[in-house]
């Protein structure tokens, strides 16, 4: 860190600095202004220069205070940020001459531990325009005097000052001075209003969104905002750029929030500023109105967590993908894949192909899903992750799919393609396409069933992705896929590891048959989800489809064993299944959805929540969905245990349930405000209305500890 850098040198310097300060202090005590800092060497050298070689009566004279900083030392901008002081010039000018304010170049962010300041390092020119009176007589030179004062800082700060002076001849005409080039360069760095640039800003609590409409010839790949007033935005808070529709920069207001502010003025610096190719800077003054500012994708609101960077998001997505493998709705499918791997273990060649095909299947599916999600999001649908399971026909189709897989595992019929083949077929598959197709299919299937399981890390990454340009969103999703596929890819690329797996044998056939039961269990869960979305008739229809499908597949199986007679029976079964399915496909979700709020829970609404927190009530909100397995597990092991329930009751905490089983735009929006795009999400609002986000996997302990903290805070 910066703090430790050069620490040893500083230790040596400390006595010298202390002595210097003592000198400074004693001279200051007699009421003198600060002397120029003598020892050690000043870290900033100041001089006064002019753009022209003479002053011309009646014409503005461009002068500048040049500050040359030693390496690692800096001085401050007009608004210095968390600490620091702006550089000042007190002018003593000949009669009739007046100096304008400093025309500040755009500043840089200067992090100091957890704080951020705004300022300059290197070679900086602070421009000032001096008005030269028209009645000045050419011939007699003029002398401009100024006392410059600044604060120079590295990891220690020293007030600096210098008496600067500049004598120029007075002529009727002037030529560029030897330093004119410095002025040309410096002028480019001074931001001004940009024609065609309009800005407006919205504030909600301490969240500010600055929305910019850029002129056609300007781009903003990156954007920084520097406030022109102090105590308006939190300098150290991450600024998040969202370029989904237009250009929006998310800022954090300084506390206490100035509620009466009507505008937000500042300098925006794009693409690294005018010093960089494609970079620019401009002064903006945006009207500020109260409104809704959803979080741009923060990991956790209550914890003051910094906004996720791309690197962190990709990392989290990878880990989330890994964890997905262990989720109850994914594991059975992947166990199937493992059986496949074990079957092919003697052939190391195609195994890598298996792994790669599987990985490609997983990654492509994630990217496709993300693409679809982005497309839908942009179409304005209030949809979120897991949305596939909010449509009854999708749930019913998945039920049929899992049922079919179960029947296949039990041996009712054989897939005549794919990886579920016996050992003999696998040898043939060495060169065949069917093998990698099967692996690819397993990958795709794994993703489809994984979608409702928003594992820890995953939803934060998703929330991040959804606020980003499509390319970043897609790469985050692809990373989820990489994480999910990684263990399998590893096993296939390093078959040595596979040697640790047991040898093939009869156990495999039995295990394969046994795996049918997790499939059927999944069907039960899906039917339960469906039951939340449609009425009893709908459920009966879905079960009817399963019977017809079972009948058809039984016939298929017999046909495969040589009884050609059953071919037409299979066809009849298939037609029956399709006919039964048709009315189900037309059922809209929620047409007869039941309110499933259980005892002690009230249904979520933003108004009700605002009212309760306004009354100083502690509120726990459970964002959940019937199809979210993690949610159900949390309910069992943590939310509905006697200990937790009695604690909620004893402290009069209001429990709210936001049920996202069916599409609900208001819940989708509430999730987005926490940077989330899926459930579960648990939020505890304390008496002052401040939200704390709890982890996605709950235990009794986590809840009780969170309640303790809230109790402590409200005391």
């Amino acid at each position: 860190m910066d703090e430790n850098h050069g620490m040893r040198t500083l230790r040596l310097l400390t006595p010298i600095l202390a002595a210097a300060w003592l000198a400074l202090a004693s001279s200051a005590a007699i009421g003198q202004s600060l002397p120029r800092f003598g020892a050690p060497d000043p870290h900033v050298k100041a001089s006064l220069i002019a753009a022209t070689d003479a002053a011309v009566p009646g014409q503005p004279l461009q002068v500048g205070l040049r500050l040359v900083h030693d390496k690692d030392w800096h001085t401050y901008w007009q608004v210095p940020g968390d600490s620091g002081l702006p550089t000042r010039i007190d002018w003593q000018l000949p009669a009739g001459m007046t100096a304008g304010p400093i025309e500040w170049p755009y500043p840089h962010r200067l992090p100091a531990g957890p704080l951020v300041n705004y300022g300059y390092d290197g070679d900086t020119l602070l421009l000032t325009t001096v008005q030269v009176p028209a009645n000045l007589q050419p011939g007699t030179p003029v002398t401009l005097n100024g006392k410059a004062e600044w604060l120079e800082c590295k990891d220690v700060c020293i007030p600096g000052s210098a008496d600067v002076t500049l004598t120029l001849p007075v002529k009727s005409e002037a030529n560029p001075s030897t330093q004119a080039a410095l002025f040309t360069q410096a002028r480019k760095l001074v931001p001004a209003a940009l024609p065609g640039l309009t800005a407006r800003s919205t504030i909600e609590a301490d969240r500010i969104r600055l929305a910019l409409d850029l002129p056609a010839d300007r781009k903003a790949e990156s954007l920084e905002f520097f406030p022109l007033e102090e105590a308006r935005i939190e300098p150290a808070a991450a600024q998040v750029l969202n370029r989904r529709d237009g250009v929006s920069l998310y800022l954090t207001a300084a506390k206490p929030v100035k509620a009466d502010a009507k505008s937000l003025a500042g300098v925006v610096v794009a693409n690294g500023g005018p010093a960089k190719p494609g970079g620019w800077a401009a002064v903006v003054e945006a009207p500020l109105v109260a409104g809704v500012v959803s979080a741009p994708g923060t990991a956790a609101v209550g914890a003051n967590a910094p906004t996720m960077s791309l690197v962190a998001a990709l990392g989290a997505a990878f880990i989330g993908g890994l964890i997905l493998n262990l989720m109850p709705c994914v594991f059975p499918v992947l166990s199937l894949k493992l059986i496949g791997l074990a079957q092919h273990r003697t052939h190391s060649g195609p195994m890598a192909a298996h792994g790669i095909a599987f990985a490609v299947g997983v990654i492509l599916s994630f990217v496709l899903l993300a693409g679809l999600l982005i497309a839908l999001q942009q179409a304005g649908s209030a949809l979120g992750w897991g949305f596939q399971l909010q449509t009854p026909w999708v749930v019913a189709s998945l039920t049929v799919l899992f049922f079919v897989i179960g029947l296949n595992l039990l041996g009712v019929f054989e897939f005549t393609f794919g990886s579920g083949l016996g050992n003999t077929r696998a040898a043939d598959a060495l060169v065949g396409k069917s093998d990698w197709r099967g692996s690819f299919g397993t990958g795709v299937l794994a993703v489809i069933v994984a979608s409702p399981c928003t594992a820890p890390f995953m939803s934060a990454a998703l929330g991040y992705a959804i606020t980003q340009p499509a390319a970043i969103a897609l790469s985050v999703f692809a990373m989820l896929g990489v994480g999910m596929a990684a263990p399998y890819l590893l096993l296939t690329l390093f078959p040595v590891l596979l040697a640790k797996l047991p040898r093939p044998g009869r156990w495999m056939e039995l295990f394969k048959q046994f795996m049918a039961f997790p499939m059927f269990a999944t069907c039960v869960w899906l039917m339960w989800v469906l039951a939340q979305q449609v009425d009893a008739g709908g459920v009966a229809l879905a079960l009817g489809v399963l019977v017809a499908v079972a009948f058809a597949l039984w016939a298929v199986g017999l046909t495969q064993r040589g009884s050609t007679l059953f071919r037409w029976v299979a066809l009849v079964g298939a037609v029956l299944a399709a006919l039964t399915f048709a009315p189900l496909a037309m059922t809209e979700a929620g047409s007869s959805a039941k309110s499933s709020s259980s005892a002690g829970w009230i249904d979520y609404s933003p108004e009700k929540l605002a009212q309760l927190t306004g009354e100083g009530k502690v509120v726990f909100v459970d964002f959940t969905a019937a199809w979210c397995v993690t949610c159900q597990v949390n309910k069992r092991v943590a939310l509905n245990t006697d200990k937790v329930v009695s604690r909620f009751a004893a402290e009069g905490i209001v429990r709210m349930k936001a049920d996202w089983t069916n599409r609900d735009a208001r819940i989708t929006k509430a999730l987005a405000e926490f940077g989330r795009n899926g459930v579960p999400l648990y939020v505890l609002y304390d008496a002052s209305g401040k939200p704390t986000v709890l982890p996605e996997i709950l235990t009794e302990g986590t809840i009780l500890a969170a309640l303790d903290r809230v109790k402590l805070a409200s005391r």
Binding site: E3, N4, M7, L10, L13, T14, A18, W21, L24, A25, S26, A28, A29, G31, Q32, S33, L34, D82, S83, G84, L85, P111, G113, P114, L115, V116, N117, E149, L151, C153, D155, V156, C157, I158, P159, E221, S222, E230, A231, E234, A236, A237, A238, T252, K255, P256, N271, G272, K276, G278, N304, A305, P306, T307, M308, S309, L310, V311, A312, S688
Partner: protein, 199 residues
């Protein structure tokens, strides 16, 4: 270019910003810390009294401004004399060259003839972060009910020049006078100035 910006953002995000803050009108975050004599001091001990928090770093020219001019000492003396609790807090991390060990810090205060109620070591920076203290001297006033009534600078002359003390409006003195008179504090916030706290 873009990648570099992302990496910079990642690094910036990895050190969590000081964003928690003690805001006037809200309860003051409680804390417990050892003073320079190793005695445990907690804010809750002083419920019922007005408390002033002064963020201190003897090596900071802005802190020196208020000590060499005698400004801070006279504020401390006048107010602790009338029952106000004055806590000087040093949040400098021990790996920074500005760090002073408790005994050394105590000696510095004694040499300055300063009379805070206690001098607290916040080497880990927990109290500083909880209050959102950013500079030395960053000043807070807490009323007897434990509510923050002032947060910000010591005065309105944002310089390191001790001579400016005489002409400055002292916000802390004003806040203490207002609360003593039973009035709400007229200016409850200001932008603190000084040296960055070495967290």
């Amino acid at each position: 270019m873009k990648l570099a910006a992302v990496l910079v953002a990642a690094v910036a995000a990895s050190s969590s910003p000081v964003q928690a803050a003690a805001v006037p009108g809200q309860p003051a975050p409680d804390f417990r810390a050892a003073d320079v004599n190793g005695r445990a001091v907690s804010l809750a001990d002083f419920r019922g009294k007005t408390v002033v928090l002064e963020w201190n770093n003897p090596n900071c020219p802005f802190v020196q401004k208020h000590y060499t001019s005698g400004n801070m000492q006279s504020l401390q003396q006048r107010n602790t004399g009338s029952g106000v609790v004055w806590l000087a807090i040093n949040s400098t991390t021990d790996s920074h060259s500005d760090y002073m060990a408790p005994a050394k810090l105590a000696t510095w205060f004694a040499d300055q003839k300063a009379t805070p109620t206690a001098i607290l070591m916040d080497t880990g920076g927990e109290i500083g972060r909880a209050y959102g203290a950013k500079v030395t001297p960053h000043m807070y006033v807490i009323d007897p009910k434990g509510t923050v009534i002032y947060a910000g600078a010591i005065d309105d002359k944002r310089t390191a020049n001790p001579a400016d003390v005489k002409t400055a409006t002292n916000y802390v003195a004003a806040a203490l006078a207002d609360t003593r008179a039973g009035k709400p504090v007229a200016s409850a916030t200001s932008s603190a100035y000084g040296c960055t706290i070495k967290y």
